[in-house]
Amino acid sequence: MAEYRVAHHSVLTGRSAIASNDIVLAPLPEGHVFQLLSIAQRSQVPLPAADSCLYGAGPEQWYVVGDAPLTVQAQATYFAALPKGAYVIDQSHGRVRIRIEGRRVEQVLAKGTGVDLTLSQFPLGSATTTLFGHIAAHLIRKDTNLFELMILRGFAESLWDELVRMSVEST
């Protein structure tokens, strides 16, 4: 069946990013997202790629994410490197990530989430699951004015449209 080539479809393809002085909204590449279960300490979680990031996802649960997809081989190597007793769930296609940053990012996000986003209360590296409007999302602070939202693939377009609406005032 070599004549058929399977093609990947990114869910936010065709959605143009927003970029103003105050707010920047952009879809992130659909790379790798692994949900890790039963790992007690952050330090015990290995990362599969140089640019992979680690987000907390509740007690003993983690997300490992990165912009590039892993080859079957790289994935197998990574899974084998996980600590004993850990379980990994591939969510690379189940979650979509959106980057939002800018001077007014906290004000825009406050239209969706009840989480107090002030730097002192939600410092760099903080991650939490929150309801964003009516959509559950994983919210991560990457920098003072830079956040990442990770949502279920099926809701990605809807959340994107909500973020665009919330950003209009700042564009």
Partner: protein
């Protein structure tokens, strides 16, 4: 003379003229005006008609408690009825209309109601319109609705946008008057995260209407100076035009910001109103106090106004109320107004002071009549004279405006929103907030701390205390000496003027006068809550902000008890009305609710799918082709094609859960009522999950992918509830089991490939052998696709009864794989099919969904009795399933239903009756849970839950649809209509 604009004074921009219209008359105001001040400046004192008697009404206040000046503002879809002219800022081109009058404000036929007033008193609805009963709906109610009412909403689409927002702070201050500003300054300087909100357009509160100086600075200038400093602090947020309307659990406050209500058009993307939810660690109410009206005859005639409001119009807006003004007061605040009026060149006819003595030394020209009351005001559309009574004598004084002050009521609403009851202070003659409030304090005149100096000090002081509680060190700001302030101190109460001849209004908005309250007491409705409902006092859109206190006083006098014994009615949010638009926020139109899309959505769309909303999902219903005129034609074709060739259906919406851990086999064995412990790796099994009460909760297949890993599918609707249920089981019921759960519903694009040709089609893309021997029914395994390009999961399961598979591939590849399957299946006759065809296929096979699993059925009711394990020690639902009633022979059981005449039809929900019994629910035998047209049977078929259904196959019955009055003769039968031996399934 009417009201008019003074030649100088006021905090308005005299160079910036704004045109507006009122009832079609063109007028001009100034930047900085409210609609109310602009109307008064134009001499327009008559602004509305009262609710019941259609009496002429004028502007009574200068704030949010305004009961009379309710106008309809705007045109088309931006119409907003019942807007308080006192709160609405003027803008160029504003269109305002009066309400509740016909044919015009000046000549209102409804005013004839005044002649009927003996019949329209308290409780008149209950007394007058009881008989004859049929007239209520046809005549009385439409008549009353037309005659009495507020403005009308528009049917046009609202072009504005609204939104909701969260805010968090250490310290929320409600009210930006002297106490609030002082508190904000203290807290802001100490570094707290402060939010200060005020319902008015500008911060300053009473400072903006004040002529006293503080530290040598004019009061409005001090307000500006403090505001400037607050604006410069990054830790302070000022929310102007923002009404904090409710206090909720966990110190969350609701607030509404009128972002664009003062603009002719809001800029694109900017909401016209924003609903805030403010989470505060500590909060301070600096909400001030409301001046009380006095209850005397004709106290509602245009030109009669609250004294502090008249002072606001004079000092802030440069508007004089008339040229011969009288002041009727029970306290010293009237003298501050007198001083300011005389300074502005307005002559005073008299100051009527109800007290025999006053400590205030008034040194101006107007005669002061002590120990006196105004018994009646006279005039039609404008007040022209008053009757003043003292020492047994009554004299008439010609005037053109009257100010009144009956003392002040602290604005404690928010403090009472969480159940606390106000407490009466005899000393302050006022209700105060409940004594114990968690994380909420009060400062300024809301605590009856009268005077500018006290307010500034108490605001700063409270802020220092609250900051200290939060670990901050703050100090009370010092603003210097106050000069020229008139401190009110406590007032003697005067709930009503007893000798009044005319109607003395208590509730202006609902036209409740003092005699109505007398009648309520007389007729046994003297309790404050009963009197409210009997008279409608306090039930209007102002919620009795001005009227409740006087009503309580009158009830107390009439009942011969204290004010404290009468008490208040219950305070509830909202403090002032909040628009439906704001409560809806952005969830309107396209953004009404989130849309959940399958990874195969675009594939289905490209194949011409018609979508249906199921929950938040968009599912493909059917795929019409050229020449098909009805949905049924498409669905019939799809069904027949699946049975004959093959079809592809998107089933990605099914819930998918991965269950990991060494405890997973035992976990599933306890969750399902059938056995799961020994399910081999590489196999799928249908599972029934029960509730604790023995009823079926959900069904689906679960496959064992590895020794310690399972893949569960749930129904679409129960994906989230089942996940929650499993988490509860794992975390709470059996924490000792090593089980971890993850929802993978969105990770996989899942498609059913069903029909006799399905194997041949799939084999073209699956690398491994999937012959019946290599991959038999209920097989489940990881598969390599297209020469190793991709890995997916293949399950040999069937909902249609055909040889069928479900293939799951990573979601991003779903559309591509579906396209390839359509391409390789083309010569096998593959067609896409939607949920309608899926439903027909499953009904033909007697497969159940939540139509049948309706929360009242146990496994045996659906023919699954033998699936329930008797060997297992325990599973959820086991104990309760043993109940006698759940094992009764009389239970409703799943059967099939067919019509006797194939040309006839019936609908789901129809009831089953014995053949010759009357159509009553008493004779009800059950109901049709699912129905469809079956191309295989050639008629409508259905599934039904019928009493003792299994032993009644072959019985003729009557299918009764009581809603449509349809009767269809039918027959009960085996619920499996197609391939009873399951030969195709195993093909």
């Amino acid at each position: 003379m009417t009201s008019y604009r003074l030649a100088s004074g006021g905090d308005i921009d005299r160079t910036s003229r704004l045109r507006f219209s009122f009832d079609g008359t063109k007028m001009e105001g100034l930047a900085g005006d409210t609609v109310a001040s602009a109307l008064l400046a134009n001499g327009q004192q008559l602004v509305g008609r009262s609710f019941k008697y259609h009496r002429p009404r004028g502007i009574l206040t200068a704030g949010s408690s305004e009961p009379n000046a309710l106008l309809t503002i705007g045109t088309d879809g931006r119409v907003e009825p019942n807007t308080r002219a006192t709160m609405q800022e003027l803008f160029e081109g504003l269109v305002a209309r009066s309400q509740n009058r016909w044919p015009s404000l000046k000549v209102d036929i409804g005013a004839l109601n005044g002649l009927l007033s003996p019949f329209l008193n308290a409780g008149f609805y209950y007394k007058t319109f009881m008989w004859p009963a049929p007239l209520w709906e046809k005549f009385y109610e439409p008549f009353i609705r037309k005659a009495a009412g507020l403005g009308k909403a528009s049917y046009d689409r609202d072009r504005d946008v609204y939104e909701k927002c969260w805010a968090h702070c250490d310290f929320l201050i409600v009210g930006a008057g002297p106490a609030g500003l002082s508190a904000a300054l203290a807290a802001g300087r100490a570094g707290l995260r402060v939010i200060i909100a005020d319902e008015h357009a500008r911060t300053g509160g009473s400072l903006l209407s004040e002529t006293a100086t503080i530290g040598g600075l004019a009061a409005p200038a001090l307000a500006s100076q403090i505001r400037d400093e607050l604006v410069s602090m990054p830790n302070v947020r000022i929310l102007e035009r923002t009404t904090v309307f409710g206090w909720y659990d966990d110190n969350v406050f609701g607030a509404i910001e009128r972002v664009g209500k003062h603009l002719a058009e809001t800029p694109a993307g900017v909401p016209v109103e924003r609903l805030w939810r403010i989470v505060a660690r500590k909060a301070l109410l600096a909400t001030g106090a409301e001046e009380r009206p006095l209850v005397f005859g004709g106290n509602d005639i245009p030109g009669v106004m609250l004294a502090s409001s008249m002072r606001t119009y004079l000092n802030r807006f440069g508007v004089a109320p008339g040229q011969k003004v009288a002041i009727f007061t029970t306290n010293d605040s009237g003298y501050a107004l007198a001083r300011d009026l005389e300074q502005a060149g307005v002559s005073l006819a008299a100051i009527v002071d109800s007290r025999a003595e006053s400590s205030h030394r008034y040194q101006a020209k107007a005669p002061v009549i002590r120990g006196a009351v105004v018994t009646d005001a006279h005039g039609g559309k404008r007040v022209s004279s008053i009757d003043v009574s003292n020492n047994g004598r009554t004299r008439r004084i010609e005037i053109d405006a009257l100010a009144m002050s009956g003392g002040f009521s602290p604005i404690i609403h928010l403090a009472c929103h969480r159940g606390g009851k106000p407490e009466w202070s005899q000393k302050a003659a006022a209700f105060h907030a409940p004594a114990t409030l968690k994380d909420l304090a009060l400062a300024g005149s809301v605590t009856s701390a009268w005077g500018l100096y006290s307010s500034l000090r108490s605001g700063g002081g409270k802020a220092v205390d609250l900051a200290h509680d939060l670990g901050f060190k703050a100090s009370v700001p010092d603003f210097g000496a106050v000069d020229g302030d008139v401190s009110v101190l406590s007032a003697e109460t005067l709930w009503r003027v007893k000798k009044a001849k005319g109607k003395a209004f208590v509730d202006f908005q609902n036209d409740v006068h003092a005699n109505d309250l007398d009648l309520a007491v007389q007729e046994g409705y003297g309790d404050v809550e009963l009197a409210k409902r009997y008279t409608t006092n306090g039930m209007a859109t102002d919620q009795g902000k001005l009227s409740n206190i006087n009503a309580i006083g009158i009830l107390a006098e009439r009942r011969g008890v204290s004010v404290a014994q009468v008490g208040t009615t219950t305070f509830r949010p909202f403090y002032t009305p909040v628009s439906f638009g704001a409560l809806t926020g952005a969830s309107a139109g396209y953004h009404f609710q989130p849309v959940r899309k399958s990874p195969l959505h675009d594939w289905a769309k490209n194949n011409g799918a018609v979508f249906v909303e199921t929950g938040l999902w968009y599912r493909s219903s059917w795929f019409p082709r050229n020449g098909e005129r009805t949905w049924r034609e498409s669905v019939d074709r799809e069904v027949v094609n699946v049975r004959k060739n093959a079809g592809l259906c998107d089933v990605s919406m099914l819930g998918k859960i991965e269950i990991c851990g060494s405890g997973a086999p035992e976990f599933l064995n306890r969750v399902y009522c059938n056995a799961f412990l020994k399910l081999p790796v590489g196999k799928a099994r249908y599972g029934l999950m029960l509730r604790e009460d023995g009823m079926i909760y959900d069904d689906g297949t679960t496959s064992r992918l590895a020794e310690d890993r399972y893949f569960m599918t749930t129904t679409t609707a129960y994906a989230a509830p089942v996940m929650t249920h499993l988490e509860f089981c794992a975390q709470v019921l059996w924490p000792e089991l090593d089980v971890k759960l993850a929802s993978v519903s969105d990770q996989w694009a899942q498609m059913a490939i069903a029909g006799p040709k399905s194997r041949a089609i799939l084999q073209a893309i699956v690398d491994a052998d999937i012959s019946d021997e290599a991959f038999p029914f209920l097989g489940a395994r990881d598969v390599s696709l297209l020469g190793g390009q991709l890995h997916g999961r293949l399950f040999r399961i069937s909902f249609s009864g055909e040889l069928a598979y479900e293939l799951a591939v990573p979601a991003g590849y779903g559309a591509s794989i579906a396209d390839i399957l359509m391409e390789v299946g083309k010569h096998h006759g593959i067609q896409p099919y939607g949920v309608e065809a899926l439903t027909v296929l499953r009904i033909e096979k007697g497969h159940v969904t939540h139509n049948e699993i309706n929360g009242t059925v146990v496994p045996d009711d659906l023919g699954f009795g033998r699936m329930v394990s008797t060997a297992k020690a325990d599973f959820i639902g086991k104990a309760m399933l043993g109940r006698e009633a759940l094992n009764s022979a009389d239970r409703a059981q799943l059967v099939g239903v067919v019509t006797l005449d194939p040309s006839k039809s019936f609908r789901s929900g129809s009831h089953i009756l014995e053949k010759d019994s009357a159509p009553t629910l008493e004779n009800d035998q059950g109901y049709v849970t699912s129905s469809c047209f079956s191309p295989h049977v050639g008629s409508t078929i259905g599934l039904a839950l019928v009493t003792r259904g299994r032993e009644r196959h072959g019985e003729e019955i009557l299918i009764w649809n009581g809603l449509q009055n349809e009767f269809t003769p039918g027959r009960l039968c085996d619920p499996v209509f197609f391939d009873k031996e399951n030969q195709k399934l195993h093909g």
